[in-house]
């Protein structure tokens, strides 16, 4: 399955010769990996902004294809035929206000409950099947003041910490070390593996002394050890392969919301264009942000509890509009990169939404959801019942199928997304 890719033509040389400023290796001649028969890869970027989106500025009034652009969709007008807006959808039985941040991509029921257990997220479900084809199986990212909260969860419901620093991710993906440091890195990976080998042996001995319930719990440890070992082995293989070269300045981490968000989108674009990964999640944790956003002077979480106040609603609109403008910029970038006869956007599904339908009262129904690109017959507003919501996991099944996976079900899905057809 794994494509072994050898650079057939020095990209840097080629780019210097052609004088292109932003060097992206996706001209056909430079892509031996996919050959004549192999189809170019399909990808997913799933984004969740965590405090809801004001529906009055988001949902079009009309259903179907002839809808008028709303204030939030206005910045996306150039891509009108390349996105679909969904209203009246949500995750069945997902309640619990902010705690639903953990279930935007998992749809596990009742995240606020005492006995809640999360389940696998959309991206990881795909990563388990197609992740081995790229240097990084899946890339969970977060824009936040602090912490590493992510949208990605393993099959046992453990959160995969998200990367908060675009500079660090850039370094890991694109900055190659010298031969000695590669050797050192490989040696470290091997040491890691041999340590894990020892502890796995110990766990096996220990398991024999335990009762059945404990054995099961320790089995989770055992499996995890084997999984890290497997990953270290893959990492070692990748370590020997040259990293893709990109002729762009490494991103700065930034301090304020918009620069952080912009840097993450640039990074996502770069990671896709170099086929470093095909699955990215981005959690936008707005809490604490508010500085250096035009027309915003208060903190975001506070604004989301606007309690109907006009001054807050106006600021909140400015904040959310700024997010949509950034999204538009990303779509623009994806569209400019050609991949065969299509653009990167045609092969990249960009899911944008929130875990809250209404940030003001923590409602988890009627989630704002938009899907752009990826190869669907877009350009419509799919409107479902706002009282009796349509299951959002159905969209996730459609997304998985579009990624090329033969999946008939995800979480509480009842089928594929009604009304969303392949392009």
């Amino acid at each position: 399955m794994t494509h072994i890719r050898k650079p057939s033509l020095s990209r840097r040389l080629f780019l210097r010769a052609s004088g292109t400023a932003l060097a992206l290796p996706f001209l056909d001649a430079m892509r031996p990996a996919f050959g004549a028969t192999a189809e170019p890869p399909r990808r997913l970027l799933a984004i969740c902004t965590n405090l809801g989106v004001l529906e009055r500025h988001f949902y079009p009034a009309e259903a179907g294809r002839d809808f008028a652009l709303t204030p939030y969709l206005e910045p996306l007008k150039d891509f009108r035929d390349q996105f679909t807006v969904f209203s009246g959808t949500s995750h069945p039985d997902v309640t619990g206000g902010h705690s639903a941040e953990a279930t935007f991509l998992t749809a596990a029921p009742h995240p606020g409950a005492a006995s809640f257990r999360n389940s696998i997220s959309l991206d990881q479900f795909a990563a388990e099947r197609i992740g081995h084809q790229t240097r990084v199986a899946g890339l969970p990212l977060v824009v936040a003041k602090s912490g590493n909260q992510s949208l990605s969860f393993t099959s046992s419901g453990v959160m995969l910490p998200a990367e908060r620093s675009p500079a660090q991710v850039f370094k890991a993906l694109f900055v190659a070390g010298d031969a000695a440091s590669v050797e050192r890195q490989i040696e470290d990976l091997r040491t890691g593996r041999s340590i894990l080998d020892t502890v796995a042996a110990r766990a096996a001995t220990l398991q024999k002394q335990l009762g059945s319930a404990d054995r099961e719990r320790l089995d989770q440890y055992f499996t995890s050890v084997r999984e890290v070992e497997r990953r270290l082995l893959i990492a070692e293989e990748w370590e020997r392969k040259p990293k893709p070269k990109v002729d762009v300045q490494p991103p700065k981490d930034g301090e304020y919301l918009l620069e952080k968000l912009g840097a993450m989108y640039d990074l996502a674009h770069l990671a896709f264009a170099t086929d470093s990964t095909r699955l990215i999640t981005l959690m936008i944790r707005l809490d604490g942000f508010g500085e250096h956003i035009p027309g915003v002077s208060s903190e975001s979480h506070n604004l989301s509890h606007h309690v109907g106040r006009e001054d807050k609603l106006a600021q909140l609109k400015n904040l959310e509009l700024a997010e949509f403008r950034q999204l538009a910029a990303l779509l623009g970038k994806l569209k400019t990169v050609k991949e065969g006869d299509a653009s990167l956007l045609d092969r990249t599904q960009v899911l944008y939404g929130s875990n809250l339908g209404n940030g003001n009262n923590h409602d988890t129904k009627n989630l704002p959801v938009l899907l752009a690109g990826g190869g669907f017959q877009h350009g419509q507003h799919l409107a479902f019942d706002r009282k009796n919501n349509y299951p959002l996991p159905n969209l996730y099944v459609s997304i998985l199928q579009r990624l090329g996976l033969e999946s008939g079900k995800f979480a509480s899905s009842t089928g594929t997304m009604k009304g969303l057809e392949l392009a």
């Binding site: 809640f116 340590i195 106040r309 409602d363």
Partner: protein
Amino acid sequence: MIRIALVGVLLWSIAVAAQAATDRAAFFARHCTECHDADTKKGNLDLTALKPDLADPESFARWLKVHDRIASGEMPPKKKALPPAKDTAAVVKGLREALLSAEQVKLAGTGRTGLRRLTRAEYENTVRDLFDMPGIALQGNLPADGSAHGFDKNSDALDISHVNLAKYVEAAEHTLELATATRPTAPTRQYRRISLMNAGGFVTHVVMNGDGVLLRNKKADPDFPPAGEWTHVDQGAHERLGIFTTNSSTGLFRHEDESLSPYFIEHVTIYPGRYRVRTSVWAFQWDKGQVLPARGTEAARLSVVQLTGDGRGGQHPSCVLGYYDAPSLTAKEHELVTWLNHNEIIGFNVASLAPAANYARKGHAMAFTGPGIACDWLDIEGPLHEVWPPAAHRVLFGDLPLVEFDAKTSPGVTPPARKKVRQIGAGKNRPDQEQGLWTVRSEQPLMDADKLLASFLPKAFRRPVSSEVRKDYVAKVEERLKAGDSFEFAMRWAYRAALCSPDFLYLVEPVVKLDDFALASRLSFFLWNSAPDARLTELAGSGKLRDAKTLRGEVERLLKDKKSERFVEDFLGQWLKLRAIAANDADKKLYPEFGPYLQDSMVAETRAYFRELLEKNLDARHLVRSDFVMVNEKLAKHYGIAGVSGAQIRRVPLPADCPRGGFLTQGAILKITANGTTTSPVPRGAFVMDRLFGQPPEPPPPNVAAVEPDVRGATTIRELLDKHRDNATCASCHAKMDPPGFALESFDVIGGYRTRYRSIGEGEPAPRGGIDPFISIKFTLGPAVDASGALPDERKFADIREFQKLAAADSTLLLKNLAQQLAIYATGRDLAFSDRDPIAALVAKTQKQGGGVRTLIHELTQSQLFQTR
């Protein structure tokens, strides 16, 4: 013969059970199924279809609810003809026995507490204690733990994945690198006196913008006058003159914010370790160039700041060291010893001042009148090493000599790799000169390895370690040595494996009764949130720990130790959700007086209050009511209590007219249960029911719209809720849930007392009250607050004080809930139906001795509940 008798008993009991089932069916038919049948299905309960299969968890839960509702007298409802008490009792008894025996079958032969790994807080504390590195930062790099039944200590919340494992490998390596001594002598203890004013720092703000001033002899520094209409000479000129190394004090008016960073940047920690920090601060009133006596004692904050990386949370500041009194015109010195990690510096903030900024003011500091805090200097000394090599190194390598590595005498051995030590940023502290490559030497590597591991492994694994297990590790050391590792690296390899092994990461407990070592661990992870120390392990080893008197003594010892503060912090962080204190910022227009100092004081209050309950062994009524509060000046002003000066939290008698007392009315609780802008009786009521009364409300039914808060019109949240409650489905739960919230309507989102709501826009002008005169007020007074209500049993209350009285009356309820919360936290398992009797017994025993919280902890640790899995 015996067998026949046994069969007889069995048959008899089946017959009795059958009779009970018939009686129960008759009881249901007569009193229940009118509403709870397939047609009406009130509360979504159809008793005619409810399966009697108690092995099924779902139907068990439903039958348990049926039992509870009938037992509490809630069902059948009072409006209906009530069954004879005898019949009710019989049904309750029958159900209870059926539930108990079903549970017995389910739980037989298994440990109730699931095998679990350490939480990340436990992991960090355990490493800190094991290696005597009290500030090493590890938690931030480990994935967050889940939470089950209110706490993260439950095995259901502590899944493990490849992510955790990979991070454990990294954390172990980081720990060992820090613990290993790699030089013949301790890093030089450097001493430096630092001015807050320095060439590379925020000097322009002070000298040119007037957000601060330079002071000398309690006057404006004549050599460097404050910024006035003409801002001061340019910074470059000063730097060339080198003037910022003079002994001026720095007076500050403005808070630390995104563009003002008052940090002592001339010390940037190179060598992690303990440092002695001393500072001299005082307060003054600034009046356009004049230094006058201050309005009172102000508070300065010292914090640890890490400008890059996620070390201690990755925020500025990463961690607050404390708030320190700055008295009027008299310098006060404060000293502390703290651990500093690589790249950490000390930050300063004028915590108690209202945020003021002069940079945009015409005339700058010379046009400003207001309070300021002056910092004379900060002394920093360290790293402090009493012995060398340090304790951490001795844990790993005992007394083996440190020698210079010699490639000639060690052919084929890879020299141990070292990271280069560098000077960082603007720090004037320098790394010591390179001393060459030093490492431990062993003449008999395998014997030493065996000896060192024999000492290390039991400490790390918290129990005796068999020689077979040890041999495995020694064999690995041998393998590494053969592969060319130095002795140090071969050993570190084994230690790393040990720190990633299940023996270290998991609490391994015997199936039913805890053995002595497991008991020692349970005790210390309960009261220290960390591994047992040498004494506890020793007592476990000699089999004395289980002795009631010894155990009591140990609980006392653990509680008296400073490490028990971790218990207070961790337990309250989850029981009362203190971890969520910063989940919302208070609305700046409505609550301009809110700030970090107030927030930190709130958390300190709640912790100090719990500590006081523990120390004075006060009873559970104090959860909701008390005749004292634990406050500092900031909180006292916030609560309207006079006569408290200074930043330290202390016990203050509650004035007769003050509506405070107990956790119920503490700022932290009131803030956590609000959203920063508005309060709602629903989440607050639910919090009180769940966290303090132990009666968590049912989750809202699906497809019911949440109440949309609104502060525009004259509609109060109560009026909105009243509408909601008109709906009969909503009313039954809200009647229970809302009353405590109604009583708490007297407190705003930051815990201030109110008789009228604050509002933006229309309304009457608001009086300033206790708000700092340097904070401008933009809010107005809205509708009046109604804090009255009635409990489900129809007892009425007019305000918070009457509610407190009613709530405090049921001290058994309060104590029982606290017992349950502590039991879940300490044992790491949810409570089952069959735990109810042991909990009740625990509560009764505690009450017989006065009902104190400390007594409760003793009774809990002595109980079977605590000592079994």
